[in-house]
Symmetry: C2
Subunit: 242 residues, 2 copies
Amino acid sequence: MIITKVSSNILGMNDSVEIRAPSASVGDYLKAIWEASGEGTASTKDVAVRLSVSPASVTNMFARLREMDLVEYERYRGASLTELGRSQALRLVRRHRLIETFLLEHLGYDWQEVHEEAERLEHAVSDGFTERLAEFLGHPGRDPHGDPIPTPEGALEADDSSPLGEAEPGAWVRIYKVSDESTGTLDHLGGHGLVPGRLLYVEEIRVVDGVVTVRDEDGETHALGDSLSRSVFVRNEPRPRS
Amino acid sequence: MIITKVSSNILGMNDSVEIRAPSASVGDYLKAIWEASGEGTASTKDVAVRLSVSPASVTNMFARLREMDLVEYERYRGASLTELGRSQALRLVRRHRLIETFLLEHLGYDWQEVHEEAERLEHAVSDGFTERLAEFLGHPGRDPHGDPIPTPEGALEADDSSPLGEAEPGAWVRIYKVSDESTGTLDHLGGHGLVPGRLLYVEEIRVVDGVVTVRDEDGETHALGDSLSRSVFVRNEPRPRS
DNA sequence: ATCTAAAATTAGTCGAAGCTAAAATAATAA
DNA sequence: TTATTATTTTAGCTTCGACTAATTTTAGAT
């Protein structure tokens, strides 16, 4: 399927008119804390890096978030989400993942472009929109990366996957998700059919350089470098009888 | 077709966390000037009312827009869009109308709800998104209200329609668009099948109270009050032979 | 235990976009 | 004309989110 990419600058218009420095806000901080900390505590710097913002700004916001009962925070101790904060964060995550799903499946975006657009959109849509979109998409449980989509109530499926690089040679594994930290690699993996749900046989893991060799269901062999094999998360599967 | 309306507040969550006073920005002002002025000049007050903002803020913004070459403006003389300003405004209008179309046709929104959501979304989406969405929708020329959708180049179909209230009794007219100034009425009209494209015969226009009586293609008669007949825009049609 | 480097916080500013109250200008009516 | 009213503008403040520079605290290494 070829999707003609329509230039976003047909007008040759200086987008500069619409500069609107997105100015990370409450929600972004909550999400960043959630991403940075799992369940634990997020450092000022973690969040600063994630949001491309100065550490000072983060300190500032941590204090404000505390006022709002969204985080627990003590100077020099980092911040962790309260129940309320967590549910707010997951609400955004839900939006983000549903939007990504829509962009990829219905609008012909590729993995490169999706993240940025979703990041902007998730702040503009209402809960109402989100739920209608979920309906439209058929209430998917996972986004195309394989990441679980939180429920509207803020529940999130437990993730018991681990990086391909830590699998046992000789094991059968199924791709659970593909981490989207390094955007460049996603299209590459997708191009080789290495997408969530794919069943693989782990042939070899070379200790020296971390290269993982796998064979897929079609008998194709793939060698994944160190960083790739850390982006692909898998779960063990019983050996298929075939 | 019944669309289950999913509550936007399942969480019982105080949306107050996400207050983000939308804070009208450059684009909103341009659009407001465009809407308020047709091609002419928009007064401070016009725009202030449209954006629910103080006149002082508008004066302020007019000066800034002038700096950016988006409007021509002289103190006490109101503002009018430059070519650049106009194209920017139409870009937003295009976004808005495409988004409305999507919400109505694919997400099950009704006319009441659509406007507000589109208003927020149009600021978040990129030109790239807009064009992909247009593709997805099949490059519609009009939105569901009947309003023409500007091209990506900023061209806008001329509108030679006039309010139903000004039609000639005995004329055949086709509904061109339904103005969305008064949101409440739209669903009402839609419920009676009075939507863009509908062919009507004008039976009577009562001068005293402005009530217009029309008969539709199915032989139904509708009486539209003064304000309704100013919201429905029509064009003359040759009498159909049937 | 002390020193040093990294990380976090404080203090002080900035720009955007808004507001109110007071002053200035334009428009209308007498 | 002149007076009254409506609209605009000016001036001065507020809040939000961000920034830099300087300071304090923590943590790691000797």
